[in-house]
Symmetry: C2
Subunit: 84 residues, 2 copies
């Protein structure tokens, strides 16, 4: 069975996000002074072939921990849905 995972990887709250800070400043330059606290992370989609949702969850968690996410600086969340 094929599952699709949607993963969000964000810098930890305690960690400075210089890219987000730069974009926050740019917002007021284009007239959007109402926008603040921009934080920028990664959004990753992938497909995983697994017998059931529990196994798919384990595979995606492993992918996040071992490859996608640097847990010292980032946290991850994800959701999984079956395709078809």
């Amino acid at each position: 069975m094929i599952f699709k995972a949607e993963i969000d990887i964000m810098p930890l709250e305690a960690i400075l996000d210089p890219q987000g800070k730069a974009v926050t400043s740019s917002m007021s330059n284009i007239g959007l002074t109402e926008i603040s606290n921009v934080r920028i992370g990664k959004h990753i989609t992938l497909k995983v072939d697994a017998e059931n949702e529990t196994i798919a969850n384990e595979k995606v968690t492993q992918a996040c921990k071992d490859l996608l996410c640097n847990q010292i600086m980032e946290s991850f969340t994800f959701s999984i849905e079956a395709l078809n």
Copy 2:
């Protein structure tokens, strides 16, 4: 009223995603052969000060179109929720 927006910006389906391709290959190198079709985009969170949700929606759409998203190569989706 303060709203929090969660924005996903992904490369269009028709466009090659070399970063995603590289990560897909790395998955089998760490034993996760079940994972395929990795695509990598951006996840952006921000706060927006607006009278109501409709105005907040407009502001976030404007931010995406004018600054965050290159609509020739990327598409964006977002959700908004009121804080407190």
